[in-house]
Symmetry: C2
Subunit: 357 residues, 2 copies
């Protein structure tokens, strides 16, 4: 997945893209409600400028449903329910549907118990994690979302072979007058897609991005692609990917390590991914108004630092929040390649084209 953020070429309003995505998933066999959940998560990613988890994934998602890799019709079911916690069996539905239902349940448990934790198995790639942590944030809760991913990118520290995914996680909470906070990060320094682009364009990469086949930092993207992704903070990032991967997968009995089927490599089979969602109801702990005021104060304190020349200081998720506000008005600027790919898939699934090129 490339980061196309600065190559936008074609503007589409978010309502139009949402409608088209929903039509695509219905054509792939989904019911209206699930198709709208999936479409909304992807439009939200695009609005925020997180294109790697937006409409550009529509072709693979639709193909997987057609090939039987993901079920368009199955509904996630609660497999265990005990007070503030639950296990959800995703029944191989779209990861977006499973994660949405899991966070919905975690939020209702947090309302009753102060905190809720729902772990899912039988899920699939769920797109942008900040969507789910945001569901809690919008209810004035802390939201935490964890997912395990294909173990094909990072080696354990000291090792040469990929053994863990970059296993992203997201933490969100509300603010008062300032932007809500939402950290959404993977535990690798950079996505593999960026290294592939550097290799294609013949540009060197920072030595913090990749380790070569001998486990040493490299500035050559081709050598990097023979090796593994460098974890955030070296041994620390490997550790975080491992423990949050376990938290995502093993409370529900989902796949881990080489048990995980890759989104692209095995499109006829479910991935059996695990996601864990936690919601914490802030108002049970402290006065909500005071909490939000203090978040505003903390943001102002952070921003009161002197800056590097030409630098801006943002709280986590603030750039994406500003992107969303702008693109809701101006429309979403998509890379031309994404628009072309969506054109092709329109034909394959017999739905009305998104745009006439």
């Amino acid at each position: 997945m490339g980061d196309y953020r600065f190559e936008a070429k074609y503007t589409v309003r978010h309502e139009i893209m949402g409608k088209w995505l929903s039509n695509l998933y219905m054509a792939a066999g989904m019911g209206r409600e699930d198709s709208e959940i999936c479409a909304d998560t992807m439009v939200c990613a695009d609005l925020r400028g997180v294109y790697s988890h937006g409409a550009m994934r529509a072709p693979i998602y639709a193909q997987r449903m057609r090939e039987g890799g993901t079920s368009p019709v199955n509904q996630p079911a609660v497999a265990m329910d005990f007070q503030a916690v639950a296990v959800m069996d995703g029944k191989n539905a779209m990861g977006q549907v499973v994660s949405y239902r899991a966070m919905e349940l975690a939020i209702s448990k947090a309302d009753k118990f102060g905190i809720g934790c729902v772990a899912s198995r039988g899920s699939n790639h769920c797109g942008m994690l900040s969507y789910y942590s945001d569901m809690a944030q919008k209810k004035d809760m802390f939201g935490m979302a964890f997912t395990v991913g294909s173990a094909n990118f990072m080696a354990p520290w000291g090792g040469l072979d990929a053994r863990v995914g970059n296993n992203p996680y997201s933490v969100a909470f509300p603010a008062g007058k300032t932007a809500p906070v939402n950290l959404d990060m993977a535990n690798s320094m950079v996505a593999r897609g960026k290294v592939i682009i550097a290799a294609k364009t013949g540009t060197s990469i920072p030595d913090t991005w990749m380790l070569d086949a001998h486990g040493n930092p490299t500035t050559d993207p081709n050598e990097g692609l023979k090796g593994t992704g460098r974890p955030v903070g070296d041994y620390k990032g490997f550790g975080v990917a491992y423990v949050f991967g376990i938290l995502s997968a093993m409370l529900s009995g989902a796949a881990f390590g080489d048990e995980i089927r890759d989104l692209y490599a095995s499109i006829g089979n479910g991935q059996n991914l695990g996601q864990t969602m936690i919601a914490i109801d802030i108002s049970k702990f402290v006065d909500l108004k005071r909490f939000k005021d203090r978040i505003d104060e903390s943001a102002a304190y952070v921003k009161s630092s002197r800056k590097k020349p030409n630098a801006e200081i943002f709280t986590p998720g603030e750039p994406e929040y500003l992107n969303e506000a702008r693109q809701r008005v101006d429309g979403i600027g998509y890379p031309m390649e994404v628009i072309r790919d969506l054109g092709k898939i329109s034909g394959e699934f017999g739905i009305e084209a998104l745009v006439k090129l």
Copy 2:
């Protein structure tokens, strides 16, 4: 705090050190039970080789109690209790006592509700976080421990002035036959103490450790000390320190940012630190035996990677676990400077000397 791990000079058995620490804290006014909790957390850190949170902190802790900065007698009290969550008012007791009581309560809530979350305010420096996450791990639970720290080390990304602490966190869970897993990490690449040692010894530092006064990476420890600590993964590590700092402090109304009083700079005043403890009862979710077997399998999978020459692959916390097992038998190897400092404090507090030098 320096990392003295490889300069051990004087061996003390852990029972002897525990007894001496407990005597010191009783001489500073503590009751027996609290003094034994504090001593045990510090001996445990030393056993694991985490000397920065062990007996070497005893002098500042004892001095703070003598100067009224920390109360040796106050008991943490539950200020809010709602189903699976609670707020604890630490009443300015030692951070170790507050965090111990908070995790104890989180564990009992996890037993009843599947998950428990206890946020503390009015706490102080709590030492090694993995001690508290381990309390949950030893009960076959996931343990997660978060603390906020003095906002004197890391700048927001793009900024030049320190605005957040390195705000460490720990995540632990049990294994079957292999070492229990315990990630315990700060969000800076390195502790300030290591940079101070490099400056004293005139050695250069990796450019990943510090940013100079202009916010640029530096290999000169003196220039680094004029700047700020480099976060793990640059903007990512700043984000994690910010959101986990908020999670640690603001669910209870503890101090944040410049409201926090430093452990060393303000020894006559409480720090009003916040810590948040979460316990998740694994057996409510899945079969515990199967969970532990799968952790063993995941550790074996990670270790099946080819290795760099002379490298070892460890799961998070495994080196510390192995240190502990060894030092429980062989005794703890302390740096001579620590033993001398403890000798001085023995005299000041009128307790029997630890060793005759």
